[in-house]
C-alpha cells in the first residue's frame, strides 16, 4: 500500500459512519436521505466485501504477462470461493445466502473488466483488463470447477487435505525461483508471448501468502473438526460473504496480520449488525472512537514505515553495500575519530549497517502492521497485534513470541503443535534413553524447532540464505531450550523462590539487560543471512564484524 491507497481506504470509512437521523421525524428529501444513510449502515457488510474486492485488483502490480494483473486477483477470489464451497457443501442454507454474494462478486469483477471499454475510467487494474468474452469464459470455468469440487468433496473432509497440498505446491511454485520462472513461461505460452523472456518478477501474486494461510487454516480446521465437545461453543458456519471478506479483508491483504476466522467473525458480525440489539457476549458496538483510534494508529504506522524505516533503508545492510564497506580510504572515519585505521573502520561501519537493517525491518513491518490494524479498526475489526517490543526480550523464545506473532501462531497451530503432539503420543523409541541429554523429548524438540523454522524461512523464499537464517534461529531456540532445561534441573533441589529473592535487584536487572542485549544481537546478526542473497557474502560480513577479511 502506498500513501495514496492508504488515504483512499481511510476515507472510505465515511461511507460506514453516516450521521444518524436526529430523532425528529423528517419529511421529503431529508427523509429520503435518512433512508439512504440507514441502508448504508445496513450495507456495511457489502461495503467491506466490495472494497476488499476492488482493493484486491487495485493493489496487484502489473506484470509483463498480458492481463495477469487481472487474472491473479481473480484467481484469489476463485480459490477462496472454491475453498468455501468444499467446506460448506453440506449446508443448503449457506448455499441460498451465497447467491447475492456471488452476484455481487461477479458484478464487481465484470465492472472492473468493463472499464476496458470506458477509457476515462480505465483502469483499477494496473493494465487494461481482458475483454468481456474472455472474462465470461473465465468466470464460467471457475463456476464449473467449483460445482465439480462441491460434488467431489461432499461429506469427505479428509479429501480437503489434497487442496491443502495443492496450495503448498502453489507456494513452492511462487517461492522457488526456477519453478516461478517455469510457471511464467507456461503463462507466457498460454498468452502467446515470448517464453524466452520468462522471469521470476513476472509473477508477483499480491496477497497470495496471506490468502493461502487463511485458506489452509480453514481447510485444516474443517479436517480436524470434532463433534462439538460439551461446553465448547459451536462455531457457526461462515456465509460466503463473510468468508470472502475474511480471507481478502483489504487492510490485512498484502502483509497480514493473519487473524483467526472465529475471532475475526465476532468483530465482523458485531460491526455489520449494529442496528440489532447486541447480544450480551459481544463487545460494545463500534463507534467514532474506533475511527479516531484507527486513524491515530495509521498515522503512527505511516510515520514508522515511510519516515523512520525509509530513512534507515538508506544506511541498512544490502547486497550492494555489504561488499562496499572496504578497508579504510584516505578519509577512513576510524582515523577521523582518532581510532587509527585498518580493519577498525570496516568493522565499525559494518556494525552500523547491520544495526540499521535490524531496526529498519522492525519499523517497516511493524509500521505496516500499524496501518493494517488502524484501517481494520476503522472498519470494525480489531486485527491481532503482530509485534510486542520484540527487540527488548531477554531470550530468543520470547523474541519469537513477539515477532510477527500472527505468523508464528499460525505455524504453531497448523504445524508445530500437531507434529509435536503426534510425536509425543507415539510410543517411546527403544534405543533412546528415558533420561539425560539424549532422551527422546530432546530430539522431538530439536525436530519441531528446526522444521518449523525451516518452513518459516522457506516461506520467504526457497534459497540457501533463508535456510541459513532458519538454521541460525532453530539452533538458537534449541540452545536456549536446553540451557533453560539444564538450569532448571541444576536448581531443582533449591527452592527457586528463595534463590530469586536472594539475588540483589541490581544484579538481576543487570542480568536482564545483558540478556536483552545478547538476544537482540543474536537476532540482528541473524538478519545478515536474511538480508543478503548469498551465504558466502554473509560469511564475509560476519568476518568483517570481527575485523577479519577484506
Amino acid at each position: 500500500m502506498n500513501l495514496t491507497q492508504i488515504l483512499v481506504f481511510a476515507a472510505m470509512v465515511a461511507l460506514l459512519y453516516p450521521k444518524g437521523p436526529n430523532g425528529k421525524p423528517s419529511r421529503g428529501l431529508a427523509c429520503t436521505w435518512d433512508r439512504i444513510r440507514i441502508r448504508v449502515v445496513q450495507g456495511r457488510g457489502w461495503v467491506i466485501l466490495v472494497a476488499s474486492t476492488l482493493a484486491l485488483y487495485w493493489l496487484q502490480s502489473s506484470s509483463p504477462i498480458r492481463s495477469l494483473d487481472f487474472w491473479l486477483p481473480t484467481a484469489s477470489l476463485a480459490l477462496t470461493t472454491l475453498v468455501w464451497v468444499v467446506i460448506y457443501t453440506p449446508d443448503r442454507a449457506a448455499w441460498r445466502t451465497a447467491v447475492p454474494t456471488i452476484a455481487v462478486i461477479i458484478g464487481v469483477v465484470a465492472l472492473i473488466a468493463s472499464t476496458r471499454y470506458f477509457d476515462p475510467l480505465c483502469c483499477i487494474t494496473a493494465t487494461r483488463p481482458p475483454d468481456i468474452f474472455t472474462v465470461t469464459v473465465g468466470i464460467l470455468i471457475v463456476a464449473v470447477i467449483s460445482a465439480g469440487a462441491a460434488i467431489l468433496f461432499r461429506g469427505r473432509a479428509r479429501r480437503l487435505n489434497w487442496i491443502v497440498l495443492g496450495l503448498i505446491v502453489l507456494f513452492v511454485v511462487l517461492k522457488l525461483d526456477i519453478a516461478t520462472q517455469a510457471f511464467s513461461a507456461i503463462l507466457r505460452g498460454l498468452n502467446g508471448q515470448d517464453t524466452a523472456q520468462a522471469a521470476v518478477s513476472d509473477v508477483r501474486w499480491l496477497g497470495f501468502s496471506y490468502i493461502a494461510f487463511r485458506l489452509i487454516a480453514a481447510l485444516r480446521d474443517r479436517v480436524t473438526a470434532r463433534p462439538a465437545a460439551p461446553g465448547k461453543p459451536v462455531p457457526t458456519g461462515l456465509s460466503l460473504r463473510e468468508f470472502i471478506s475474511y480471507v481478502i479483508f483489504f487492510p490485512a491483504l498484502t502483509a497480514g496480520p493473519i487473524d483467526r476466522a472465529d475471532r475475526w467473525i465476532k468483530d465482523y458480525r458485531n460491526f455489520v449488525q449494529t442496528h440489532q440489539p447486541a447480544p450480551a457476549t459481544t463487545p460494545r458496538p463500534f463507534g467514532m472512537d474506533d475511527v479516531v483510534a484507527g486513524a491515530g494508529r495509521i498515522l503512527l504506522g505511516v510515520f514508522k514505515k515511510f519516515v523512520i524505516a525509509d530513512m534507515l533503508a538508506i544506511i541498512a545492510l544490502n547486497s550492494i553495500n555489504a561488499a562496499q564497506v572496504t578497508a579504510p580510504g584516505v578519509h577512513g572515519s576510524a582515523s577521523f575519530w582518532g581510532l587509527g585505521d585498518g580493519g577498525l573502520n570496516q568493522a565499525i561501519w559494518t556494525w552500523v549497517l547491520v544495526y540499521a537493517y535490524a531496526w529498519r525491518i522492525l519499523f517497516d513491518f511493524s509500521g505496516y502492521t500499524d496501518i493494517a490494524i488502524g484501517l481494520g479498526r476503522m472498519f470494525g475489526i480489531k486485527l491481532p497485534e503482530n509485534f510486542d517490543r520484540p527487540y527488548f526480550k531477554p531470550n530468543l523464545t520470547l523474541f519469537w513470541n513477539s515477532w510477527h506473532m500472527s505468523l508464528s501462531q499460525w505455524f504453531r497451530a497448523y504445524y508445530f503443535n500437531p507434529i509435536t503432539r503426534a510425536l509425543r503420543s507415539a510410543k517411546e523409541t527403544p534405543f533412546l534413553p528415558e533420561q539425560g541429554f539424549f532422551r527422546q523429548s530432546t530430539f522431538i524438540i530439536l525436530f519441531g524447532q528446526v522444521t518449523t523454522m525451516l518452513l518459516i524461512g522457506l516461506w520467504h523464499g526457497i534459497t540457501w540464505n533463508f535456510i541459513a537464517w532458519s538454521v541460525w534461529h532453530a539452533v538458537g531456540l534449541f540452545a536456549h531450550n536446553r540451557w533453560t532445561d539444564y538450569q532448571r534441573r541444576r536448581n531443582a533441589s533449591d527452592d527457586p523462590e528463595s534463590t530469586e529473592q536472594n539475588e540483589l535487584p541490581l544484579r538481576r536487572r543487570l542480568a536482564t539487560t545483558l540478556s536483552v542485549l545478547a538476544t537482540f544481537h543474536f537476532v540482528a546478526l541473524g538478519w545478515i543471512w536474511f538480508a543478503l542473497p548469498s551465504v558466502s557474502l554473509s560469511i564475509q560480513v560476519f568476518g568483517r564484524l570481527v575485523g577479519i577479511g577484506g
Binding site: 450521521k19 463507534g287 467514532m288 479516531v292 538508506i314 544506511i315 553495500n321 578519509h331 577512513g332 552500523v352
Partner: protein, 398 residues
C-alpha cells in the same frame, strides 16, 4: 428496517460521536497551518543548511554533494548552498602554518565525473605534495560542481569565501561550454537560489537579467514546511548518506557505465545557435570571469583553459569534438589570451594537453591518468601562486 425503527438513543449517539473526531481534526489542522505559516515567515532553510553531521560525526565530503542516483551514489543533489558547503571537508579542515590552501572551482571535469574522489584533479595535486617557493605544501580542495556555467562557479566561490576558510589561492578551470550567456542560469541550482545569484548580477554588473523568468521565487506557500518538504527530506538524506560515505568512501555511482565520447561528429558548424565567422559581443559572458576575479580580491587566482578532446574522426576537420566547432573554439582561445594579457590575469591554456585516450564519456571528462597529467602540468603555475603577481615576470606567459 425503517428509519422510525432506529432508536432515538442510537441516532443521538451517532451524531454526537461525529463531533469528537471533527474537533480533533480541526485542532490538528489549525496547529498544522500555524506551524507552516511560522516556518514560512522565518524561512529557516539557510540556517538549517548549516547544521551538518559532516565533519562532526563523519568525515566531510571531498567534493560537493551531487547524485543522480542517490541510492547507488550515496550522494544526493541538494539546492541548498549552505548545506552543500557544510558537508565539504573544507569547512572543517584545520589549516596548519605550512599549508598552502588552494580552492578548485569548475565544472564536472573538476568535480571529477566518473572519477573516484581520490582520483580527481584536486586529489592528484595533493598526491604530488607540491611545495611553494616559501616551503608551504599545496593542499587542494575540490569545489567543482557538475554544471557548465561560469556564474555557478562564481556563486559557489563567493559563498565559500563567506566562510572562514583562509584560502591562499584559487584555481579556476574553465571551458568554452561554460561561457554562453544563454547557459548561465539554465540549472536549478541557480534558479532556486535567486537572491545570491541576483546579488552577483548587481554587484559585478553581469550582463544577465535579474528578473529572468527562469528564477524561481518561492511564494508564501512554497516556503512552508509542506512546500519545502522535498528540500527538507533532501537535507536529511544528505546527512544519512554521510554514513555510507564514511563507510565506503563512495560518492558517485560506482557501477556507472558510459559510452566513450564521440569521435565521429556531426557536420554542424554552429555553436549554441551562433554561426561563424565570429561571436557577437553578448554571446559569451566574459564578465563572469571578471566577477570571479573581483570576488577573489587579493587572493591569487589562476584561470586554466581545461583540456578538451581533439577528435580525429568524421568531420573533425570542422569540429574538435561534440561541443566545439573549430572556428568557435579557436576564437575563444584567442579571446581568452587577449583578455588575460590585457587584464594581466594569471592564465594558462592547456587545451591540447591530453591525448584522445585519456578522455572518458565526454570531451572534457578525463581519466585518473589524465587528471595526473594535468596536475603535473599545472604544478609550476600552482606553486608560483604564492609569489605576488608583480614579481611573476615571464612565468605567467601562456
Amino acid at each position: 428496517m425503517e428509519p422510525s425503527q432506529l432508536t432515538g438513543m442510537q441516532a443521538a449517539t451517532t451524531s454526537a460521536r461525529w463531533s469528537m473526531p471533527i474537533r480533533v481534526m480541526l485542532k490538528a489542522f489549525v496547529l498544522f497551518v500555524v506551524f507552516n505559516l511560522i516556518f514560512s515567515v522565518i524561512d529557516p532553510m539557510t540556517v538549517l543548511g548549516r547544521f551538518s553531521a559532516y565533519n562532526i560525526l563523519f568525515p566531510g565530503r571531498q567534493r560537493l554533494p551531487y547524485g543522480d542516483h542517490p541510492e547507488l551514489a550515496y550522494n544526493v543533489s541538494v539546492l541548498n548552498l549552505d548545506a552543500m558547503l557544510a558537508s565539504h571537508e573544507l569547512m572543517a579542515a584545520p589549516k596548519s602554518a605550512d599549508e598552502f590552501r588552494v580552492l578548485l572551482i569548475g565544472d564536472s571535469s573538476t568535480w571529477g565525473w566518473l572519477l573516484k574522489p581520490t582520483d580527481t584533479l584536486a586529489a592528484q595535486i595533493n598526491r604530488a605534495h607540491m611545495k611553494t617557493s616559501d616551503g608551504r605544501t599545496v593542499r587542494a580542495y575540490n569545489l567543482g560542481y557538475p554544471i557548465m556555467s561560469l556564474t555557478k562557479d562564481v556563486l559557489i566561490l563567493v559563498r565559500a569565501l563567506h566562510a572562514d576558510i583562509q584560502p591562499d589561492a584559487i584555481l579556476w578551470l574553465v571551458t568554452l561550454e561554460s561561457f554562453p550567456t544563454d547557459k548561465q542560469l539554465f540549472h536549478p541550482l541557480l534558479q532556486n537560489n535567486p537572491s545570491p545569484t541576483r546579488d552577483l548580477i548587481s554587484r559585478y554588473g553581469l550582463a544577465l537579467d535579474p528578473n529572468d523568468p527562469q528564477f524561481i521565487t518561492p511564494t508564501l506557500f512554497d516556503r512552508t514546511i509542506v512546500g519545502r518538504r522535498r528540500d527538507l527530506a533532501d537535507l536529511v538524506r544528505l546527512q544519512l548518506y554521510g554514513v555510507m560515505w564514511a563507510a565506503t568512501g563512495i560518492d558517485q555511482d560506482p557501477s556507472m557505465d558510459y559510452e566513450p565520447a564521440a569521435i565521429d561528429l556531426e557536420p554542424d558548424i554552429t555553436f549554441h545557435g551562433i554561426k561563424p565567422p565570429s561571436f557577437g559581443p553578448r554571446d559569451l559572458t566574459f564578465d563572469a570571469l571578471t566577477a570571479g576575479k573581483q570576488a577573489a580580491g587579493a587572493i591569487p587566482l589562476l584561470i586554466v583553459n581545461e583540456p578538451i578532446l581533439r577528435s580525429n574522426g568524421r568531420n573533425s576537420d570542422i569540429r574538435y569534438n561534440y561541443f566545439y566547432p573549430r572556428w568557435a573554439y579557436d576564437q575563444y582561445r584567442a579571446m581568452m589570451t587577449d583578455m588575460a594579457s590585457a587584464q594581466s590575469w594569471r592564465y594558462i591554456d592547456v587545451w591540447d594537453l591530453l591525448p584522445q585516450g585519456e578522455f572518458t564519456n565526454s570531451a572534457v571528462h578525463y581519466t585518473p591518468a589524465g587528471a595526473k597529467l594535468l596536475a603535473d602540468r599545472l604544478a609550476d603555475s600552482i606553486t608560483h601562486l604564492s609569489i605576488p603577481s608583480g614579481q611573476l615576470g615571464k612565468i605567467n606567459a601562456p
